[in-house]
């Protein structure tokens, strides 16, 4: 962009506004305006605080300010999508400032789940120029009969925090809805706003409307009875080509007929904001006191408190809700100065969270202990320090968390990492180096989920009749579904219509039906209504209220809400921390967990203290490299350095390519410990599969334990002479995996999610059949029946894919097995090594794997029989 081009770009009113505030428009803001003028799709990558949101809106504001007054009411011009309700509302507020100051006659309104019915109704009749909303609200819009007319004048869709949205099911749904909008409004521009990421092209591909190669279409058309003439096919680029940057995307203007080899990313112009200064990151060294194991960082709390005292406002990030509660409790024990320290996590009552957010916005707080609930969100200018308590787990997440401090572009953000144990010291150090090198974790390639597609197909039918071929073409203009096969698409439509069962008994109950005109439409208004009530790709777990138990069985005040499963590890009588207090669990009824205060008790910490995020592959590789290089140990605290040195003496230190495997006898048990550094999930999967194999080798595995760095198995017989190369062979991911997975509760949980999203079951399941009493008709029953009778059903495929990626990290185990092939470093020991101490300390806190459910029942029964016969 040349300086000479500037005056042409910004209208006078805008120039004056910038000047009046003592600002000059930033280059990336001008680049975005240029993209708007060129009608190009665009992705803006900029760190927080760079005027990113304004850059996204500027082209729309300019266009809207230059429109002649309307003769007839107009539709929405710009649609803004945010992952968070609160962010949509906040951006609405921030957008009103320039609009008011420039005296523009532009209306901007938010619409979220919290927006009142009257306002929603009015927005439908009299659309604002700019509508700010969430992906779920957009999906609802798209499932409305008036959707096409409402959006036909749409010029621009802006997706904020796109880096957090795209790699998940919400992103799949959003991509499908954007493809739909593009169909309604061919001239619409797609604009993404993103934090800095490892590979912007992945997001560009996600955002790109680039149509799939049309060669496949012929093959597919041959498979369908002649429904659709070729002319009915929609080609977005032929209809109205939004052009990309001329220098980089000549192909985007006129896609070759077969589209072969053209990267869809090129259809989206990449605009980069200035990188901004690198954040200043320190690792808190608690000299001589770094614990061997644990996740609470209790040893460092006094230091953390001192740091909070020296700063204006600190955000303290932890990885789990239990850690949040624990840290909050510990800090208040030290809080002799009465600093305003607050707590924020997803299990607290919404009202309580809003109070904390409001106090934060007013600048009333000195520190907030929080989980990922505050990873994204509203701009709090006064935060001057981010503290990461416990392991960072990934470089990208850290950069985004650190970006929460100091929203001014020209000053570096400041952060302190607090490792909770010795391995975490290595991890924190690695993360610090990654940030200094401006390196980010790569994201895996994403393929759109079919349960989400099922929901979308139903939504389309609810909104207006559709042609099967046209919808197939439209769906493939959504990035995650670009490579969707006709067979999968057909199967999804069949599922939506009849459930997709081999036993074809539901043909008369079809939810969508094909009419004589060849178009598919929803069966009746009632089915449409029920679909609208179940829209969205967020599956929230069932929630329990935490309530005070009153005297004589009455139920008292509500303290908060927790997800089903949060209290699963506790039994009545156990104490736990929640909402900053210690409570004793009295019992759980169908909707409430009843508690009494237990202020003087030591709360029981849950056995799993780790994080739900696995350490990123990228960070793990850095940790392995650091560990293998004694020169780099100098930067570590003395006790950690000693620990590594003793490991070198007593056992071995592997090279970055190798995986260390130790065997030793301890007590009467033979131990096998490996250190793959692949995260708790992958290790659990690996351990499950290894114990199956060891069982077949007749070494009698008795149990296993995992943490983020290592895995230990113990057995009756020695394992020194096992052939480890074949034990760790990649073929373990075959039948064993499938057999184990199908029985696992992860699969049942994944199935439930897919069943909800796909519309097989409804969020509000009619279960209260027995005169209002709660009869739980769980999806587990459906899973068991479906698995036995139709194991290849679409939803089981979806559930297996979800479980394999999200819950057991099969891909990661596979990569690891490939990596360590021929690289196992076996160390035979007389006793345990320094590295093995942390993992062995976890034994006893963990449950033993295997087919636990029946074992629990059997054990309980034995107790009872013993009692009875005593």
């Amino acid at each position: 962009m040349t300086a000479a081009a500037l005056p042409a770009l910004l209208p006078d009113r805008f120039e004056a506004w910038f000047a009046g505030r003592g600002w000059a428009p930033r280059q990336h803001q001008l680049d975005m305006v240029q993209a708007g003028e060129d009608g190009a799709h665009a992705l803006l990558i900029a760190p927080t605080g760079g005027g990113k949101t304004l850059a996204g809106f500027l082209p729309s504001l300019i266009e809207l300010s230059e429109r002649p007054p309307p003769n007839t009411p107009r539709g929405v011009h710009t649609l803004y999508i945010s992952p968070l309700k609160a962010l949509a509302v906040d951006v609405e507020r921030n957008l009103m400032t320039p609009i008011a100051q420039m005296g523009l006659s532009i209306t901007a309104e938010s619409r979220t789940g919290d927006t009142g019915e009257a306002r929603k109704q009015r927005q439908r009749i009299k659309p604002p120029d700019i509508l700010l909303t969430t992906p779920e609200q957009l999906a609802l819009f798209c499932a409305w009969e008036g959707a096409r007319r409402y959006f036909e004048g749409l010029r621009c869709v802006i997706i904020d925090e796109i880096h957090s949205l795209w790699p998940q099911k919400r992103g799949d749904l959003l991509a499908l809805d954007i493809a739909r909008l593009q169909q309604f409004a061919p001239a619409m521009r797609r604009v993404g706003l993103s934090a800095t990421v490892d590979d912007p092209d992945m997001i560009r591909r996600w955002l790109s409307p680039f149509p799939p190669p049309s060669g496949e279409g012929d093959h597919r058309a041959a498979m369908v009875e002649g429904v659709s003439s070729p002319s009915s096919r929609v080609d977005l680029f032929e209809a109205e080509p939004p052009v990309g940057t001329p220098s980089t995307t000549p192909s985007a203007r006129s896609p070759s007929p077969d589209g072969g080899g053209t990267d869809p990313a090129n259809a989206v112009r990449l605009v980069r904001g200035p990188p901004g200064p690198l954040p200043q990151v320190e690792v808190l060294i608690s000299e001589g006191r770094v614990p061997w194991a644990g996740h609470t960082a209790q040893h460092a709390m006094a230091d953390v408190y001192e740091v909070i005292k020296r700063h204006k406002t600190s955000l303290i990030f932890v990885n789990t809700r239990f850690q949040a509660e624990f840290a909050f409790q510990e800090l208040w024990k030290l809080n002799d100065d009465g600093l305003a320290i607050a707590l924020h996590h997803g299990s607290l009552a919404a009202e309580q969270r809003r109070k904390v957010e409001a106090a934060m916005a007013r600048g009333d707080l000195r520190a907030v202990v929080c989980t990922s609930t505050l990873d994204l969100g509203i701009d709090w200018g006064d935060v001057d320090l981010v503290i990461q308590l416990a392991a960072p787990k990934g470089a990208s997440r850290m950069v985004q968390r650190i970006g929460r401090a100091n929203h001014r572009l020209d000053e570096p953000s400041k952060a302190i990492f607090v490792p909770a144990n010795r391995f975490e010291v290595l991890e924190c150090q690695a993360a610090r180096e990654a940030i200094a090198e401006n390196a980010f974790d790569p994201e895996p390639v994403r393929t759109g989920a079919l349960d989400v597609l099922a929901q979308h197909v139903m939504g389309c039918a609810v909104s207006e009749p559709f042609d099967l071929l046209a919808l197939y073409d439209e769906v493939r203009t959504a990035g995650p579904y670009r490579d969707l096969s006709w067979e999968d698409f057909e199967q999804v439509v069949e599922f939506v219509s009849t459930g997709g069962y081999a036993l074809r008994t539901y043909d008369r109950f079809r939810r969508i039906v094909k009419g004589p005109d060849g178009l598919w439409r929803v069966r009746n208004a009632q089915t449409a209504q029920r679909h609208r009530m179940n829209v969205g790709a967020i599956v929230s777990p069932a929630v329990l209220n935490i309530r005070l138990a009153g005297r004589r069985g009455t139920v008292g005040r509500k303290i908060g809400e927790v997800e089903e499963g949060y209290l699963e590890m506790l039994e009545p009588g156990d104490t736990f921390i929640f909402a900053g207090g210690v409570w004793r669990l009295q019992g759980i009824t169908s909707t409430d967990a009843l508690v009494t205060p237990a202020p003087n008790d030591n709360p029981k910490l849950p056995s799993w203290g780790g994080s739900k995020f696995a350490i990123s592959t990228f960070l793990a590789a850095k940790v392995r490299r650091m560990m293998s290089d004694p020169d780099s140990w100098k930067n570590l605290p003395t006790d950690v350095c000693e620990w590594l040195t003793v490991q070198q003496d007593k056992s071995m230190i592997p090279t970055p390519q190798q995986m260390l495997l130790e065997t030793f006898l301890r007590g009467k048990r033979h131990f096998l410990v490996v250190y793959p550094f692949e995260g708790r999930l992958a290790h659990t999967t690996l351990a499950m599969l290894l114990t199956k194999r060891l069982d077949r080798l007749r070494v009698g595995p008795l149990g296993f334990v995992v943490n983020d760095y290592a895995m230990a198995v113990w057995s009756l017989k020695p394992m020194d002479d096992v052939d480890f190369d074949s034990l760790f062979d990649q073929d373990m991911l075959g039948d064993d995996l499938e057999a184990w997975l199908d029985e696992s509760f992860m699969m049942k949980r994944a199935f439930k999610g897919c069943a909800l999203i796909s519309g097989l079951i409804e969020r509000r399941m009619p279960g209260a059949e027995k005169s209002g009493r709660q009869v739980t008709f769980s999806t587990d029953l459906i899973y068991d029946v479906l698995r036995r009778h139709q194991p290849d059903h679409l939803l089981l495929r979806c559930a297996r894919a979800d479980a394999a990626s999200g819950m057991i990290d099969v891909a990661r185990v596979g990569q690891m097995l490939a990596r360590i092939k021929g690289q196992i470093l076996h160390s035979r020991l007389d006793h345990l090594s320094p590295f093995a101490v942390p993992i062995l300390l976890e034994i006893g806190k963990e449950r033993v794997g295997g087919d636990t459910a029946d074992m629990i029942l059997a054990e309980a029964a034995e107790d009872l029989i013993a009692e009875a016969l005593s």
Partner: protein, 241 residues
């Protein structure tokens, strides 16, 4: 439940994996399938089959897998084959709704009819199927007296010595080793038994629910259905939902 009380009820694990016990003085076996076996009469009792529950949802637009009836029936046939009963009793709610029988696939209807051949089949009627079967064979009954026992679909309020009933779909939740297990169960105090639902899609009602209040002489024993055997569990071990 204390040890003395348990001794008085004197249950025992039976070789088939079931739990044998005397109810109101009459010997019964609670099988891990969820069926109740009366050895003296050679009578097999199953409750709440809820045939065609899946298609009942489909009628309303929710397309649950249509395999529940076959699944339930297959398990039932296995039980009949294992015990060779002289009398088979369906203890009510055998069909999920009044039209369920019409929705049965012809082959499935034949298999149900075949269960009545060579033995007495009795349909005790429940709240979901008050009229009983229209075309399928078998005798209809509101209640059935067997020795000191009385068999009926819906348990009556208060203590009912000798009553064998279904309707409530009892299940038990046990917490241990860091996770919870929820299973269908028999609920009994030695005086009466409430059978678990046998149908594949039948949900469960936790036996700590207030719906069971006042039905038992003390805290009842839950006999939970496991993979290969039934597991007797004391009240103190059980959690609410």
């Amino acid at each position: 439940m204390n040890a003395q009380a348990l001794r008085d009820r004197s249950f025992a694990q039976s070789p088939c994996g079931g739990v044998a016990m005397a109810i109101h003085g009459h010997p019964v076996v609670m099988r891990h399938s969820g069926a109740l076996w009366l050895p003296v009469e050679r009578m097999l009792v199953v409750a709440d089959l809820h045939f065609e529950k899946g298609s009942a949802y489909a009628v309303r637009g929710q397309l649950l897998p249509p395999y529940d009836t076959v699944e339930t029936l297959t398990r039932l046939e296995a039980e009949v084959a294992a015990t060779a009963p002289a009398t088979l009793v369906f203890l009510g709610d055998s069909f999920h709704d009044g039209q369920a029988e019409d929705r049965l696939a012809p082959l499935v209807a034949e298999r149900i009819a075949a269960l009545a051949s060579g033995r007495t089949l009795i349909w005790a009627v429940g709240n979901h199927d008050e009229d009983g079967p229209r075309a399928l064979p078998g005798d209809l009954a509101d209640e059935l007296s067997v020795g000191t026992l009385i068999l009926r679909h819906e348990p009556q309020a208060g203590r009912q010595p000798g009553e064998i009933a279904g309707h409530l779909h009892p299940c038990a939740r046990l917490v241990g080793r860091g996770r919870a297990v929820r299973r269908r169960c028999f609920a009994t105090d030695g005086e009466r038994v409430i059978l678990p639902a046998f149908g594949a899609y039948a949900g469960g009602l936790n036996i700590r629910d207030k719906a069971y209040a006042g039905m038992f002489s003390g805290a009842p024993l839950a006999v939970a259905l496991g993979k290969d055997k039934a597991h007797p569990l004391s009240w103190a071990m059980l959690g609410g939902d």
